[in-house]
């Protein structure tokens, strides 16, 4: 019986294939008959004027096809081979963490001077406050490291690695609300629909490890989920869907449906997938849909991940010291600390772009309590990741990025009391840091005014950040483009300048 199955590869003359057969015939008809030729003739007759773009497409200006664009990469020798981006979602306050403003102590409780605010619009959450009382950090700052960088007492562990960090105090964004601001940071545009940073990188650079996704996302389970995250933040936008980020979960199955179902040993899985892939290719021959290619690639990746993911997720081989370094949370899968440890393991496997999200930095009220909790959950593991990468020599070619989507206001949102206050969203200046491949260690770049309200030196826009990130990966941000709906798109849209002064 079983031989019978393989007499012909596919039994196409069955009712199930009727649709596909019709499609094949119609295509053949169109391409091979006079109608097809006629259409070509009409097309060339009217050329550009009637069909607009098709004229230029036919002319095929050299150096513009996707292949040409990808072939030109890398545009310069990359400094970084992998990126881990620790996204602090919610907008961490710069005042309590990095941007030390001692002069605020003398002004505590006074109204924010108009000369600083300059009539700038506030969010609906604090615009109706009768006063905007300036509030200094509740937490103390001390100088650390050879670089004598001021760091808050909330981050004692990060303070230990401060000589490895390149702290940028003058980042600014255009978006004042969470979702558009995060979308802006992750995709270069405030509206959903563009590819995320990781997708651009996997599209432009490809993979260094065939057994794991190029772009992996980890969301901590122990961040306060007051502001949501959507999978489109690591989406592929208009790029082919195989370039989207793959989220690893924290439960029993880090990647869903990767384990074989009960009662199935998986022995003939490879044969089944090969056959399915042939079928899919047949289908694709008829429809020409790139989504079919993506699906084929994803099946194959999933098959390889059946062995590679359990291997990389297993912490059995990690010594006790590792858990001690990353902190007690690191034994609890899905926490930020456990994700940082996992991040190191994935980076060791040459995963190109890792995006960690930790939510809960949105302290509109009860900021001192809230931010202390956040730091407790993240500080040690963040510092441990830097130390761990450094001792393993991976900081040589790994870029670590830490930052949120915006900063917070110098004035208190809500009531200011002796030991409690809140801060509203403030996109006009905030702090991020980078460390590792290609960035200068132990420096601080950019300055804000005494109120950390306006930037006084070296502003760095979100687009500039993206341009710099691509530069470190060997890509000229102006030349990695993708044509969609008649327009060429870039991660940096039509802007962005590489911040040369922070590069080694």
């Amino acid at each position: 019986m079983s031989n019978h199955h393989h007499d012909e590869e596919f039994r196409l003359n069955t009712p199930e294939f009727e649709q596909l057969n019709k499609k094949l015939e119609r295509r053949e008809f169109l391409t091979k008959t006079a109608m097809g030729l006629g259409a070509i003739a009409v097309g060339s007759l009217f050329g550009k004027s009637l069909f607009g773009k098709s004229g230029t497409a036919m002319a095929g200006s050299a150096g513009d096809t996707e292949q040409d664009i990808l072939r030109a990469i890398p545009h310069f020798a990359p400094k970084a081979k992998r990126v881990v981006y620790l996204f602090m979602s919610g907008g961490p306050s710069q005042f309590e963490l990095f941007d030390y403003k001692p002069k605020l102590a003398t002004m505590a409780g006074q109204n924010l001077p108009d000369s600083v605010r300059k009539g700038q619009r506030l969010t609906g959450m604090s615009a109706n406050q009768s006063s905007l009382p300036v509030v200094p950090s509740f937490f103390k700052f001390n100088q650390h490291g050879q670089s004598q960088t001021w760091m808050s007492e909330l981050m004692p562990h990060t303070a230990q690695v401060v000589d490895d960090l390149c702290i940028v105090k003058s980042v600014f964004s255009e978006q004042i609300n969470h979702d558009p601001a995060i979308t802006f940071f992750q995709t270069g545009n405030q509206l959903p629909g563009r590819p995320s940073i990781g997708s651009w990188l996997s599209y432009g650079l490809g993979s260094d490890n065939n057994n794991l996704p190029t772009f992996i996302v980890l969301v901590s389970k122990n961040g306060q989920k007051d502001q949501p995250l959507y999978s489109r933040l690591w989406g592929n936008g208009f790029l082919p869907s195989k370039f989207q980020g793959v989220q690893f979960g924290s439960g029993k199955d880090p990647v869903l449906f990767l384990n074989n179902p009960e009662g199935y040993d998986g022995n003939d899985r490879k044969e089944m997938l090969d056959y399915l892939s042939k079928l899919n290719k047949l289908q694709n021959g008829a429809y020409g849909d790139p989504e079919v290619d993506a699906r084929i690639a994803q099946y194959e990746m999933a098959y390889r991940m059946q062995t590679s993911v359990p291997e990389v997720m297993s912490t059995a081989n990690e010594p006790n010291e590792a858990f001690e370094m990353y902190g007690p949370d690191s034994r609890d899968p899905g926490t930020y600390a456990a994700n940082c440890l996992l991040a190191r393991k994935l980076l060791e496997k040459d995963v190109k772009f890792l995006q960690l999200y930790h939510q809960g930095w949105d302290q509109h009220s009860s900021l001192p309590k809230g931010i202390a909790q956040q730091c407790k959950a993240t500080d040690q593991a963040t510092a441990a990741l830097i130390k761990d990468l450094k001792q393993r020599g991976l900081l040589e070619d790994t870029l670590v990025i830490w930052g949120g989507e915006f900063g917070r206001t110098v004035y208190s949102q809500g009531k200011l009391t002796a030991n409690d206050y809140g801060r509203d969203h403030h996109p006009r200046c905030f702090t991020m840091w980078m460390a590792g491949a290609g960035v200068k260690p132990g420096i601080t770049y950019g300055e804000t005014d005494d109120f950390s309200y306006n930037i006084v030196k070296d502003p760095v826009h979100v687009h500039d950040f993206h341009a710099t990130l691509l530069h470190l990966m060997g890509i000229d941000h102006e030349r990695l483009t993708y044509k969609f709906q008649g327009r060429r798109f870039r991660l940096t849209d039509v802007e962005g300048k590489v911040v040369k002064n922070i590069l080694t």
Partner: protein, 444 residues
């Protein structure tokens, strides 16, 4: 949505229609003259028909011509002459038709000889009008006595002796721009005919501002996205090639926009010589045009510029991770996967041909011994080397002392001791040595 742009369409019909009256009226004149001979007497009756056709088509040509002229962009002086002579032509041909026709004997019949003289005069007027029209489309200097007597510049024999504007820039502009932008057909009020007119520019400002790329409208327009409505050349006309654009850019930045300057007298010629040589067709081996942005980056000059890149595919097939870090010169990052089946000797043979192109190498976790790694001496351009998790001892350091570009060595989880670090420090290039999980005790 398709808009029928009737006025532009019919305006563009003018150059087509305009040839009909030329043919008909010339035919009428030829028939009229031939009819003087006995043999062709019968042609006389064909003259009025030819004139009528000439008249009708001349009127049509006038109408379409008028529509075309409303698009502007023409030398108004020449246009006025063309317009006036064309309309006169149409009117006279109409009058002549009526004169040639016997309207039941009521019309005054003009003498045959006078008719012929007027008809020949009409042909002369037509020639004049036609010449004016041609001057509008092809330029005042298209058909002149100078065309007959003009001398062509000799082709320069070397790049250095070529004159930048006359030999290079002007021919590019004449080839690609002057169909629309020249004296007589000043689209956008711009002529590219001379340096003066280029600097004067057109409606949108100076076409060329010496040394100031941003202020040079010409450069802006030719480098826009081809789909932009301001992109030049318009309407699907052949755009400038990449190297032509590069030459123009370089000329604006360095050429001072002075005529008669030899290329050798200018600054920064090295970056543009390959393009200039190709453009001028001056022989020798033309180097591949190095990308400017890439060449701005300082790369190690010891890395060979020419490499057999087909080897990369072979290595990948074998399971090695080969990452191209730069194409010119070829810089590679090669990773031998941890626990690979490829043994040291085989690996060595596979990568030796690319040894000088490998700048990052990762052979960690592959059970390599000190002896296996003697081939590292040949990898003289290595910058980053990962040897961790191999059973290596202090001996391995001897292979690395002479690598003068080596910046970082990862010897984590090997059997090395302080002796290796001390030895490695003899190599002044090495900045970072990773010794985590080894017997190294001293701080380095």
């Amino acid at each position: 949505m398709i808009f029928l742009n009737i006025s532009t369409f019919s305006g563009h019909l003018h150059p087509l229609i305009v040839h009909l009256p030329i043919g008909f009226i010339l035919l009428a004149a030829v028939f009229n003259i031939l009819s003087y001979s006995k043999k062709h007497e019968n042609l006389k009756s064909a003259v009025p028909v030819a004139l009528l056709m000439g008249f009708i088509s001349a009127v049509l040509a006038c109408v379409f011509g008028y529509i075309l002229s409303t698009s502007g962009d023409y030398d108004q002086n020449v246009l006025r002459h063309h317009e006036f002579s064309g309309i006169t032509l149409a009117i006279i041909s109409g009058i002549l038709y009526f004169m040639a026709t016997d309207h039941s004997g009521k019309m005054a019949f003009i003498p045959g000889k006078l008719f012929s003289i007027i008809l020949v005069g009409l042909v002369a007027l037509m020639s004049y009008s036609g010449h004016q029209g041609a001057s509008l489309t092809h330029g005042n200097d298209y058909l002149t006595m100078q065309t007959l007597t003009r001398t062509v510049r000799d082709k320069p024999t070397s790049v250095d002796s070529a004159i930048i504007f006359e030999d290079v820039v002007q021919p590019i502009l004449q080839n690609k721009c002057s169909q629309c932008h020249r004296d007589g057909k000043l689209k956008g009020n711009l002529s590219v005919e001379s340096l003066q007119t280029l600097r004067k520019g057109g409606k949108s400002g100076p076409a060329v501002a010496p040394g100031k790329l941003n202020a040079s409208e010409l450069y802006k327009r030719i480098t826009l996205d081809p789909d932009n409505k301001d992109f030049m050349p318009k309407d699907g006309k052949t755009p400038l090639t990449k190297s032509e654009v590069k030459i123009i850019k370089w000329w604006i930045e360095n050429g001072d926009a002075i005529s008669g300057k030899r290329i050798a007298e200018l600054k920064n010629i090295n970056i543009i010589i390959p393009e200039l040589a190709t453009y001028l067709g001056i022989g020798g081996v033309v180097l591949p045009a190095a990308d400017e942005r890439v060449s701005a980056q300082v790369t190690n000059p010891d890395i060979p510029m020419v490499t057999d890149t087909s080897l990369i595919g072979q290595l990948r097939k074998k399971g090695l991770m080969v990452r191209v870090m730069l194409r010119k010169p070829l810089m590679l990052d090669i990773t031998l996967p941890v626990g690979s089946v490829i043994k040291a000797a085989e690996f060595k043979n596979d990568v030796i041909p690319l040894a000088k192109n490998i700048v990052w190498l990762n052979i960690s976790g592959n059970n390599f011994t000190d002896g296996d790694l003697s081939f590292l001496k040949l990898f003289t351009n290595l910058e980053k080397l990962r040897l961790e998790k191999n059973p290596l001892t202090d001996q391995v350091s001897n292979n690395l002392i002479a690598l003068k570009h080596l910046e970082a060595v990862n010897l984590n989880e090997t059997k090395i001791t302080d002796a290796a670090v001390i030895n490695l420090k003899k190599n002044p290039a090495i900045k970072r040595i990773y010794t985590w999980g080894t017997g190294v005790r001293q701080v380095n």
